[in-house]
Amino acid sequence: MSDVILEATSLVKHFGGSDSWFGKTPKVQAVDGVSLRVRRGETFAIVGESGCGKSTLARLLMRLLEPTSGAVMFEGKEVSSVSGDALKTLRRDMQFIFQDPFSSLNPRMSVGKLVGEPLEVHAPDMSAQHRRDKVAELLRKVGLRPEHAGRYPHEFSGGQRQRIGIARALASGPKLIIGDEPVSALDVSVQAQVINLMGDLSRDLGLTLVIIAHDLGVIRHMSDRVAVMYLGRIVEMGRTEEVFANPRHPYTQALLASIPSMDGSDAARRPVVLGEMPSPSNPPSGCRFHTRCPHAQGRCKEESPTLGSYEDGVACHFWETLAIDTPLPIPSPRSDATQARFALYRAATEGGTVTHKKPQPETATKQHREDHL
């Protein structure tokens, strides 16, 4: 079996463009010629701003949408042509995690029913008792308790609901999970819990993950390879490490420069990309980024640069001549005392035994504040 689990070739998805009572609807070029390859066991990230077509791409990969043209191959089988039992197998092998854990779970179904539903579909022969055991096991796997099976989604917090969504995705025993912004609706502390969970699961179960996200910190943390999308096209693709250390496309550079740095010392003004993304119903000619690109030249308006690869590349005419002046914001080193504090915190939250030293007399620096202001 080949090392490639999922491959897309020249995927195109256009919405609208048809005649209706109200006249011709505008044709939105949501995805316009995307080719990529995802290898087995890796975490592949797709990043871009809202409206760049990344969610449409995710839905095309799973065949939740039919492409206008192009093909998706999953384990060597054409996704867009299968039907019947083969489609059912495909649905078992590829699962989806949605962004909003509040609207993606049916409020009238108990958690046990929600997680058990994929089992009913994909393993109809399973006995009810066996199914209950399996649901309990899945809930434990995602950090919930088996007794949660009797409760309803509204009784859970956002992070817990996302865990339910993950358990539901895992139920059919998939090989590939596509997550559309799986953590962006969550608070940062809860987000960290879910990121850790997904990392553990992909490692333990040998899952391939495709993560759609707009948070570059999350992508840097989770993914092995990354594709940067802009207005329906991939502008740069490569190993996450290399893309972050050495962004080649001006758009990637601008994205990285926009990340607020965690360095609290200095808020130096870094270059900001001008303007906003044009509408995908009327994209610019040539290189679609040329209207916002600081390095655009005449050729960029005429000729559309290509990525030229399924795995690694940059779609820019001039990337070799562009100077890279966007070093990553590296946080300033912490003092020894602060480092010790972070190490204590990590050790304590990871199950270390906490002992409190003997209370010491109040030191001079630690006085009770009488006047708050």
Partner: protein, 338 residues
């Protein structure tokens, strides 16, 4: 109700301060905001940071007088603006303050603009309401404000409706509207959360520029520590309706003291340490009714012991930096065996 303050230790460049704000909603047995004191000086950005459910937005709404009067009980709180003070207990914040001297922008610019009026109409309304004058003058002012927040072809935008603008543009319109009456204080409640990173960077730059130009004080409410690092001069970390740590931004980042602050910082994926397992803050923020007595963070804190049953008061780490934790600094009070 507005009286001149006569306290002498009141720093001259303080624009706004709120002291000991405590409030609860009717029918609840716990305070939603508990003894919160904040201060903003001229040209300063104060970031209030914490997870959802920590009372950040309720604090901001109380300052603006936007909480429903019938169902809110403010039991203490003194608001001071440029030396004038207003007791917030059982008062309605007067319209001479709200929208005029204190202005607010919200997270979701789509839902905070009225979809059935034009942009120009909505900005002009704010101007007419507080300054009066002719409609032509208000329109002039709207134009000027749109240009100032960096909207291209403001003439054309004036007659457009909110749905015709992108999210970033709408947030710019909100800022234009908020600043139309030259407020001294801008309260921004998660102004960039709904925006993309490149647009977020533009909006943060805009707020910084306007602050430099006008010397306004800004209270920014956010859960994103990246944004805090980018724009804050001072930081107040809130948990469960209480300020657990506050001080200059540089100190908070270099020398965080409270376990919650440390937990939040550890939860952020770091660009320089990919793949490393993130430290977490276990569990979630309890509901107001389930808030524990004493230190409210103790149910999620790895270091909590019996002392934490009593509420820690804010203690100075340095004269400007204070923390409310019995065990701070951790390394002096705690040992962890792995």
């Amino acid at each position: 109700m507005i009286t001149k303050a006569h306290s002498s230790e009141y720093p001259a460049d303080t624009l706004l301060s709120v002291e000991n704000l405590t409030l609860r909603f009717r029918g609840q047995s716990n305070d939603v905001v508990d003894d919160v004191s904040l201060r903003v000086r001229r040209g300063e950005v104060l970031c209030v940071v914490g997870e959802s459910g920590c009372g950040k937005s309720v604090t901001a709404m109380a300052l603006m007088g936007l909480l429903p009067v019938g169902s809110t009980r403010i039991s203490s709180g003194l608001l001071k603006i440029e030396g004038e003070s207003l007791c917030l207990v059982d008062t309605v914040v007067p319209a001479t303050l709200r929208g005029n001297r204190i202005a607010m922008i919200f997270q979701e610019p789509m839902t905070s603009l009225n979809p059935s009026f034009t942009i120009g109409n909505q900005i002009a309304e704010a101007v007419l309401q507080h300054r009066g004058g002719s409609k032509a003058a208000a329109r002039e002012r709207s134009l000027e404000m749109l240009a100032r927040v960096g909207i291209a072809s403001p003439e054309k935008r004036l007659s457009e409706y909110p749905h015709q603008l992108s999210g970033g543009m709408r947030q710019r319109v909100m800022i234009a509207m908020a600043l139309a009456n030259d407020p001294q204080i801008l309260i921004a409640d998660e102004p960039t959360t709904a925006l993309d990173v490149t647009i977020q960077a533009q909006i943060l730059n805009l707020i910084r520029d306007l602050r430099d130009e006008t010397g306004m004080g800004t209270i920014m409410i956010t859960h994103d520590l990246g944004v805090v690092a980018e724009i804050a001069d001072t930081v107040a970390v809130m948990y469960g309706g209480q300020v657990v740590e506050q001080g200059p931004a540089a100190d908070i980042f270099a020398d965080p003291q409270h376990p919650y602050t440390i937990g939040l910082m550890s939860s952020m994926p770091r660009l320089d340490r990919p793949g490393e397992r993130l430290s977490i803050v276990p569990g979630t923020v309890p509901t107001v009714a389930a808030m524990p007595k004493g230190c409210r963070f103790r149910t999620r804190c790895a270091f909590a012991n019996e002392i934490c049953g009593t509420r820690p008061s804010l203690c100075d780490v340095t004269p400007l930096h204070s923390v409310a934790c019995h065990h701070a600094p951790l390394e002096a009070h705690i040992e962890v065996a792995v």
